[in-house]
């Protein structure tokens, strides 16, 4: 009797300890899952939904590490042929209608990329969800049928982040972030990111549909769908050059 009580107390405290230690670990694994491979090729469709209009944009994207990436727009016809190149922290754009390569200045980087809710800044300047926050497991919930940890991220003092809090739902099975909520410092919801349609693609399990919903502007959203994706493709650094920016197809 006493032994069993002791055992149960011990066990619960051990699991609690293990869980507390794991929150950061879980986020770190999830972050790695999102970044992952050495190189990739993908075909993506982005739908920008506003209360009064909607448009969609398709593009091909090549990337190598986090430093190099090249994006080529395939539709709509008006924008077809535009390309964007990112090397380290710098970004260039090629516009075939004016036949010019433009280096994007800092002010341009902060505008919405192709009119979406994503900013160029988001693409370039991902502050690490691992380094800048303290993590704690707030519970376990099901999201779209998947068992998830609900993890609360609170920014470390002096960390240069604007959020007051983030909540992530990470699947237990694959360490995928299915849902993230961003809160301001007054704990009001600012935006929600959702991931759906978990599939096995090219040997990796990933969500293939993403949604971004700003909380202040009901009716606005951006939907990103991965149509094709290949990992660890054979691609040289020289592919990511200003020269290739104007020639890529």
């Amino acid at each position: 009797m006493n032994l069993r009580l002791l055992a149960s107390i011990l066990l619960t405290s051990v699991t609690a300890f293990a869980v507390a230690q794991n929150a950061t670990e879980i986020v770190r694994k999830a972050d790695e899952m999102m970044r992952g491979e050495k190189s990739s090729y993908s075909e993506i469709t982005m739908r920008i939904v506003r209360p009064k209009w909607e448009r969609s944009l398709s593009f091909k994207s090549w990337s190598k590490g986090t430093e190099l990436s090249l994006v080529f727009i395939t539709s709509p016809a008006r924008e077809k042929g535009q390309a964007f190149l990112k090397i380290n922290r710098e970004m260039w754009s090629w516009n075939p209608t004016i036949n010019r390569t433009i280096k994007l200045p800092p002010s341009m980087l902060s505008q919405g990329w192709m009119g979406s809710d994503f900013t160029n800044d988001d693409l370039l300047n991902q502050r690490s969800i691992v380094v800048d926050y303290n993590h704690s497991i707030a519970g376990e919930e099901q999201v779209e049928g998947w068992d998830c940890w609900r993890i609360t991220l609170s920014p470390k003092p002096d960390a240069p982040v604007v959020w007051g809090k983030m909540i992530l739902w990470i699947t237990k099975k694959h360490y995928l972030i299915l849902k993230s909520e961003y809160y301001d410092e007054e704990q009001n919801l600012v935006k929600t990111e959702l991931a759906h349609q978990i599939k096995v693609v090219d040997g990796r399990t990933i969500p293939t549909l993403y949604e971004l919903l700003p909380a202040d502007e009901p009716g606005n959203k951006t939907i990103v769908e991965l149509n094709t994706i290949k990992f660890n493709i054979d691609i040289k650094d020289s592919f990511f050059s200003l020269r290739n920016l104007t020639q890529v197809k």
Binding site: P106, M108, L109, S110, T119, D121, G164, E185, V190, D216
Partner: protein, 470 residues
């Protein structure tokens, strides 16, 4: 004798003369007032831009001016000592100038960030006195402070819309029904202007909504002081660095473009974050005693500091110097156009005058008045006629300009458009004595020119034939 004769001739047909006098007076009143408005406008723009934006003289590392790169600094101590004791310089501020991406929880925007020492900045710039909310950079805080322009704060979505109790009470006092209908909104905080408008539209009846919504939105807007702003900028080593700042104050100038772009932070904070030696600066801004001493001071400075680029305000912002010259010229063009149109009216009147008085001219010539005298008499009549109108018009405009120089001429109906291009919406007309003299000369010249044709007509008369005209 000829003078008084001409003066009396002008008033032989008072109605006809008065028509011309009034036309000239109104034309000149309009012209001179326009001239004064343009002049006052431009002067204000120059004063505002020197005071808030560019100061009298700026000193840079010449390489910084090419691309405004963050590593092109120069040693502040090498110039500060000499400058602060120099004659005619009343203010001196060493600044860091960094291009940064600003991120808040709801938006992003590009900013030019000036790192300044609050005390010295106050001696050069009017911005610390242009705050509409919060305070300037003085005061010790754990997180560094940033002061933003109103437009930038709006773009970064650092605005809340909240209908407070006191506003609601004032509204009830103003219009009872409005106060009642607005009740459900009291105390609610709304993030964007459009959703605030939507909330209003839901509560108010359409007539009240159309009438009050814009004013309500303006008076309910409050800026989120202490709101977080993360600035990302390049360090001299070429790396990107992010640092957290909190909003302490919001300023507003008459130039919206400036408000959208310039942000102020403490010099030490920026130097530390950007990893710049705190003895080095990108820019030194100087304020001189007055606009006239600038040229000579700039001259001396550029010979003293050969390795630095010293620029006057009209070199930093040539478009403003251009406006100054342009403003005077524009006013003159208006007046010349108005006088040209009036000249036809005067010619008409004088012509009627001359045709009516054939018999009289014949008589005058017959009793020995020579042609030159007849000619000058008609010319003087014309000049008197125009000048009377001119004097009345100028007196009117002096009074008008004097009044509006005190109260200001309010264009706030179109304020947004004006302020978008950097002009204040309240204009204080201003005109120099030289301009009045110039206008008087132009009016006299118009009188002379307008009399040429009618007078020539009179000269062609044969006295004997003219006497027989009935």
């Amino acid at each position: 004798m000829l003078l008084s004769l001409s003066w009396r001739n002008v008033w032989r047909n008072p109605t006809r003369s008065m028509v011309v006098v009034v036309a000239v007076a109104l034309g000149l009143w309009g012209g001179v007032t326009t001239m004064a408005l343009i002049n006052g406008w431009v002067k204000q723009r120059i004063a505002d831009s020197i005071q808030n934006e560019i100061s009298h003289i700026q000193i840079h590392n010449p390489e910084f001016l090419l691309n405004e790169e963050v590593d092109k600094t120069f040693n502040f101590d090498s110039v500060a000592q000499a400058l602060s004791s120099a004659d005619g310089i009343v203010g001196l501020s060493g600044r860091l100038k960094v291009f940064a991406m600003a991120q808040t929880d709801r938006a992003n925007s590009g900013l030019v960030v000036l790192g300044v020492k609050p005390n010295s900045e106050r001696s050069v710039s009017g911005i610390p006195n242009k705050l509409i909310m919060g305070s300037f950079l003085e005061g010790d805080f754990k997180t560094p402070s940033i002061v933003l322009g109103k437009k930038a704060a709006e773009e970064l979505k650092l605005v809340n819309y909240e209908l407070t109790d006191s506003i609601a009470q004032k509204l009830s006092a103003m219009e009872l029904r409005l106060g009642e209908q607005i009740q459900p909104l009291v105390g609610r905080r709304i993030r964007t202007r459009s959703s605030f408008m939507n909330a209003l539209r839901a509560e108010l009846e359409p007539a009240l909504f159309n009438h009050y919504s814009e004013t309500l939105a303006d008076s309910c807007a409050s800026f989120r002081l202490n709101g977080p702003v993360v600035l990302t900028f390049q360090t001299p080593a070429g790396e990107l660095h992010s640092a957290m700042f909190r909003v302490r104050g919001i300023y507003r100038t008459s130039n919206t473009a400036f408000d959208a772009r310039m942000a102020y932070v403490n010099f030490e904070n920026l130097a530390l974050a950007a990893n710049i030696n705190p003895n080095y600066v990108h820019e030194v801004a100087l304020l001189c005693k007055d606009n006239t001493s600038v040229v000579s001071i700039a001259q001396t400075l550029s010979t003293t500091y050969q390795n630095l680029k010293v620029r006057r305000w009209d070199e930093i912002s040539p478009e403003i110097a251009l406006y100054a010259a342009f403003g005077d010229f524009m006013g003159l063009i208006y007046i010349v156009i108005i006088l040209f149109a009036l000249a036809f009216g005067i010619i008409n009147t004088m012509m009627m005058n001359v045709l009516e008085r054939y018999r009289e001219f014949g008589m005058l010539m017959a009793i020995g008045m020579n042609r030159l005298r007849v000619y000058s008499m008609i010319m003087m009549e014309s000049v008197f006629l125009t000048l009377t109108g001119g004097v009345v018009g100028i007196v009117f405009s002096i009074v008008f300009i004097k009044i509006f120089a005190q109260t200001g001429f309010d264009f706030s109906m179109w304020a947004e458009g004006f302020e978008a291009i950097g002009y204040s919406s309240v204009v204080y007309p201003d005109i120099t004595l030289a301009n009045y003299v110039l206008v008087t000369i132009l009016v006299t010249a118009t009188g002379v020119l307008a009399s040429l044709w009618p007078a020539r007509r009179a000269l062609k008369l044969n006295p004997m034939q003219a006497l027989r005209v009935e």
